[in-house]
């Protein structure tokens, strides 16, 4: 609420954003850095978005490729029909959000692993459906898109902007009444209901918000890549990536998906060229080590290294002097 409630991490985010935004100005021709930045930001945004449902509400979805793919194809098809690609991004998000409602209304009634398994089914079904809708999606031969595109620097900044929007959304959700309801239903759905939380509504709203953001990411990806294939944008690997990013970075935290995406792509970029597929082994080892020793992921590790005592929760509690009522950071920022 007050400036005193702001943590250094909250102030670090805008500073980091501005610093990163200057990179294309300093090195406009360093394609390697700009590409790495583009993909990292794209996955930071998706990790943050996934975390709104997966981390805050505790519904682990393995089906987000469906939203990414739908967003990508929405932009691609409208672009081919003469739209300006940037103007299709909101529609890409809306299309993904609408589909998330179709999926979420029945599946979000399921609890825990049952929901996760259902989302695997939905994700794979979408991939196979799109592969067979060759009149629309180009099917197995894919879809070629126009090649008139802006510079790498533009894409870098666009991805950064989406990541920033996702960050602000996540921070807002966590500090809001809505976020409090999500935290409550994550820990005990029945108790949350008893206290007046509309759990079914809240879960679906969280799903819709995150699907929208991932759909926009898909749209930007289509514009960048200029070629779409269902096996690519609807792949299970894409879905798994978001789960890995959140888990490695720290599920349910704000900084987790940011750190997770950075490490995820640093590892992939470093290893993929020299040792293809070796990065998957690294992720596996990393995941096991993290789940065993620091279930709060890199964000939890960072907090521990910083010497902060933290409750293992998305809504962290600041160590307050006895008697004083210091607002926990979760509610400190927004509202």
């Amino acid at each position: 609420m007050k400036a005193a409630g702001l943590r250094p991490a909250a102030a670090a985010a805008p500073a980091l954003g501005v610093a990163l935004a200057l990179v294309p100005l300093i090195a406009p021709h360093n394609i390697t850095v700009l590409n790495l930045g583009f993909f990292t930001f794209l996955y930071v945004a998706q990790g943050l978005a996934w975390n709104i449902l997966g981390g805050f509400a505790g519904y682990i979805s393995f089906g987000y490729a469906a939203f990414f793919g739908l967003g990508a194809y929405t932009t691609a098809l409208l672009w081919l029909h003469g739209w300006t690609p940037v103007l299709t991004f909101p529609l890409a998000g809306l299309c993904a959000a609408a589909f998330s409602l179709v999926v979420g209304v029945p599946t979000l009634r399921l609890i825990g692993p049952y929901f996760s398994i259902a989302t695997i089914g939905v994700g794979e079904a979408m991939r196979i459906l799109m592969l067979n809708l060759d009149k629309v999606t180009g099917g197995a031969s894919g879809l070629n898109l126009p090649t008139v595109v802006p510079s790498k620097g533009w894409f870098y900044l666009a991805a950064l902007a989406i990541a920033a929007v996702a960050y602000v959304t996540a921070v807002w959700v966590r500090g809001s009444r809505f976020g409090l309801g999500l935290a409550a239903l994550r820990m005990d759905q029945d108790a949350a209901e008893t206290l007046g939380v509309r759990t079914a509504l809240f879960k679906n709203v969280a799903h819709v918000i995150s699907a929208f953001l991932v759909g926009v990411c898909g749209g930007l990806f289509a514009m960048y890549f200029q070629y779409l294939h269902p096996d690519n944008v609807f792949s299970f690997t894409e879905s798994i990536s978001l789960v890995l990013i959140a888990l490695i970075g720290g599920i349910g935290t704000i900084w987790g998906p940011i750190l997770g995406a950075a490490v995820f792509f640093a590892v992939q970029d470093y290893l993929q060229t020299s040792y293809p597929a070796f990065h998957l082994l690294v992720y596996g080892v990393l995941l096991i080590v993290i789940l065993l020793f620091e279930p709060r992921g890199l964000a939890g590790l960072a907090a521990r290294l910083a010497g902060r005592r933290r409750v293992p929760a998305p809504v962290a509690v600041t160590p307050a002097a006895p008697g004083t009522v210091a607002p926990p950071p979760a509610q400190g920022g927004a509202l």
Binding site: R177, G181, V325
Partner: protein
């Protein structure tokens, strides 16, 4: 006195904040609650007792919306709430505590209560107001010193208090307490009884399921006795303890021991 007064419900039905009309709940072949009709008196404490498995918690679940009755109606605060979902029942002003306490473990004590304040009955309030209201409720419930601790760090007695505080924060007109004294030490029971009295003094109608007999007999204006899903007695504590059917069904035939367990 062997049967509940048959005319009682009809006479006060209009002013009662909670009325059950022929509520029956079956689980397959098992009749957990059988045609229970009762009207709870406004602003009073009503005790609901009975042996284990008598259907007490089932009645609470039917009222709270966690279970739909097989037949019958539940009318609360002027609305037929039969089949409403639990969040809607809570927002109407009727809140239930859980027999097994269920704090949100990773939230602080204050945040636990904030959930009730932010989502309970009455007008929708901002997070800041919810925080202030939650703090006031914690003060009232004697948990203010623990506000910033995680709920998982509380003792059982404190968790029961938290369960009550969270329910109170939803601004209920009717509060259903499910065994809030169970598992407490005698001195904790005394403190909890005081808290229940204070809540009642605020004008909140209370229905409490309780096994700690001396407490429930002390607190209640009226006691309902349930056995095998049927209401077998309804009256003042003195009337109920003198009722032969209650003594036989609840305390055991030839009950000469002090009613404590």
């Amino acid at each position: 006195m062997s049967a509940p007064a048959p005319d009682f419900g009809a006479a006060t039905m209009t002013s009662s904040p909670l009325v059950l009309e022929h509520v029956t709940k079956r689980f397959g072949g098992l009749v957990a609650v059988e045609s229970v009709t009762v009207a709870v008196e406004s602003g009073k404490i009503t005790g609901l007792i009975g042996p284990n498995g008598a259907g007490k918690t089932t009645i609470f679940s039917v009222v709270s919306g966690h279970l739909a009755p097989t037949t019958g109606r539940v009318v609360a605060l002027g609305h037929d709430i039969t089949g409403w979902s639990p969040h809607a029942v809570c927002r109407l002003g009727l809140c239930v505590t859980h027999q097994l306490v269920r704090p949100f473990p990773d939230l602080s004590v204050l945040e636990n209560v904030m959930v009730g304040a932010a989502f309970g009955g009455g007008a929708r309030i901002a997070a800041r107001d919810a925080r202030r209201e939650a703090m006031a409720v914690l003060d009232f419930a004697g948990l203010a010193a623990r506000a910033e601790q995680p709920a998982s760090a509380l003792t059982l007695a404190q968790r029961k208090r938290l369960e009550i505080a969270r329910a109170l924060a939803t601004r209920p007109s009717v509060l259903l307490l499910d065994e809030v004294l169970a598992g407490l030490t005698p001195s904790e029971v005394v403190q909890a009884v005081t808290l229940v009295r204070q809540i009642s003094a605020r004008g909140i109608t209370i229905v409490m399921i309780e096994h700690v007999m001396h407490a429930v007999m002390n607190l209640s204006h009226r006691v309902l006795v349930l056995n095998y899903g049927r209401l077998i007695a309804d009256g003042t504590p003195a009337e109920v303890t003198g009722n032969r059917e209650v003594i036989e069904a609840y305390l055991g035939a030839g009950g000469d021991e002090t009613p404590h367990d």
